[in-house]
Subunit: 418 residues, 2 copies
Amino acid sequence: VRAEILAVGSELLVPGREETNATEITARLRQIGIDVGARVTVADDRDLLESAFRTALSRADLVISTGGLGPTEDDLTREAAAAALGRPLGRDVSIVEALRARFARFGRTMAAVNEKQADVIEGGTVLPNLRGTAPGQRVRVEGPPPRTLVLLPGPPHEMLPMLEAQVIPALAGREGAAVLRTRILRIAAMGESDVEQVAAPVYTRTANPRTTILGGAGLTELHLTAEGATGEEAEALVEALAAALRAVLPHRIFSEDGRSLNEVVAALFIQRGVTLATAESCTGGMLAADLTAVPGASGFLREGHVTYSNPSKVRLLGVDPALLERVGAVSEEVALAMATGARRGAGSDIGVGITGIAGPDGGTPEKPVGLVFIALQGAVGDRVRRCHFPGDRPRIRRQAVQAALEMLRRGLLELPAL
Amino acid sequence: VRAEILAVGSELLVPGREETNATEITARLRQIGIDVGARVTVADDRDLLESAFRTALSRADLVISTGGLGPTEDDLTREAAAAALGRPLGRDVSIVEALRARFARFGRTMAAVNEKQADVIEGGTVLPNLRGTAPGQRVRVEGPPPRTLVLLPGPPHEMLPMLEAQVIPALAGREGAAVLRTRILRIAAMGESDVEQVAAPVYTRTANPRTTILGGAGLTELHLTAEGATGEEAEALVEALAAALRAVLPHRIFSEDGRSLNEVVAALFIQRGVTLATAESCTGGMLAADLTAVPGASGFLREGHVTYSNPSKVRLLGVDPALLERVGAVSEEVALAMATGARRGAGSDIGVGITGIAGPDGGTPEKPVGLVFIALQGAVGDRVRRCHFPGDRPRIRRQAVQAALEMLRRGLLELPAL
């Protein structure tokens, strides 16, 4: 079953407004194994709406709309959906009576415009609204292929209970309903196309699980989604593919459980029982900020230095001024001297040093913007990496932090656990 | 002109993922008077995508897609758009060469899969990508009615500059467009409801400009949007309301031109010709990272310390161990001693110290989670603020950084400019 969701309302297209209904419905449907192929936000315009319903019904088995069921002129969902199906609307007298009674309960007389909320698409089932005036509707369209159209109200406090009580149970009970299981494999400091070149031959062998690849600054994700008759079956399919991907990306996948790289590295520091001191130039404290974002970072992070200037590299980290003079602040040697100075000063097991050119200015032909040296020193041995990152200042800084975290992770993995 | 936006990518339909590109494009188009009729998020599925392009082209004059232009198998936007238009794709040799050169610049060999990024729809214009590999495309479709199709890449840092430089100017030149002008007033370290209480009586007096209030951690924004026959008229309406809001929020609005708080504070440091040293405990380097995110931060930031532990507060900042013993690390006195130590050590004009309890653990009845002391010392006098922030660890840390930046801003404003 493939679903499409239509969120109806011009107000949803105004900047600053967030559309939450479609997102909620997507999440809920996935839990019962129904995939959403498209999500459409559409203005209160009769022709646009009819076109949106027509398109959705042509490519999805299940179409759910939210909004546009109220009494005002802008509420056009019923008319548009009926037109898209080529069916007439009929006024349901019992709904008119129920609406009138509801108004009376609140001591008010019902304005005539409200009656259109009682219009039901021919062959449709009414979904009572326990929290508001506009009822929902469910229409089964005979095939081929058979499809289901569900119209839900827009206000979340009316829509969600109706979805939960009157829509989900009917869908979940369908025969042969599949169950989905997903997993996200995360890889740091390796480009999206490099990951794909290695991983695609593995994951394209199978259509179930499906795999999507996603790249960010210093982070690539593989999203696996498997379908099964049971949760166990779907989980086994996900695990089999994950195992095959682990084999072609040895030591590269740092997380399969949603943890981010800083969390994984912080946990390794605690497990290995080693301590850290940082010395950052171009990343200006981002690495320390990332590590201290994890609760319990005080257990391993002794101290951090932001040494943007040469004098502070000399005074705080003991970097030799002659070395700075000879090779420049952005160099393998200075990165290592920074790591060494940070480690010695703090008396920690490991020191990390980062120095580079984040731009936009300061680049030269020999040392272009994006050139970054990262050094580890101490319990994991001396390691220096020369990186040349693409992108603008924030991307270069983010990639440098990710690369430093990945170096720490690989180094820590080689140490024995406590 | 009516526009439709297609956001392409299965990952955008995964719960928890937010789609921001279509929202950004909607906002930008409104500023030049173009209304978005529908916004579609669609999975990486060849048939769905083609259907989405076909539908959009049947009901909108301007169709803009984002995503699906990369090198991987999932990137199907070019093929789907070409099929929807009934036009072939041709490989542009000059783009292939440019891609190869880009890879070479970063010392890498281009994998063959990347070549498909050079496929251009017949009759299409290439939109160079200055921040990434995949170029965009613009295709004019002869009428009736005439339409424009624009394909943009998915990563926001690639998409937004392309939109701004290569798409908006061409669209804004059309005649007869109603003109919108917007302005965002930013206020730091003052809660959304506090801002609203003061500002709402002013901005609700008028329907044009419309005003939306938006709250984040340590940041509240007022979004003003005015409509006018001309840009001048709309601008005058925005300015009149902004002036009225400035009057009820004296010294509180730190930005009306899109600049963030760290940019404003960095610019003030440069203008005032004073230097800074930081000492951070609970924010763990975030303040330094925020300030060094601004190019040219080396002009004022002498050095930064992350002193998570008491020994490092003593050794690096010269905080008196007896003081730590007597009042505890999270105290007004220690915040001031940290600021003083950072300033003295670096020989800077101002020192800032932050100490607090970010949680989730470590709180006591006297010193609960969220308690943070922020101190300034030096050229702006001695100032200490005691804050008690709500929220979880990331929100508490973010609010602490915002409050420190706001204290620096207010202090710097009182110093004479160079």
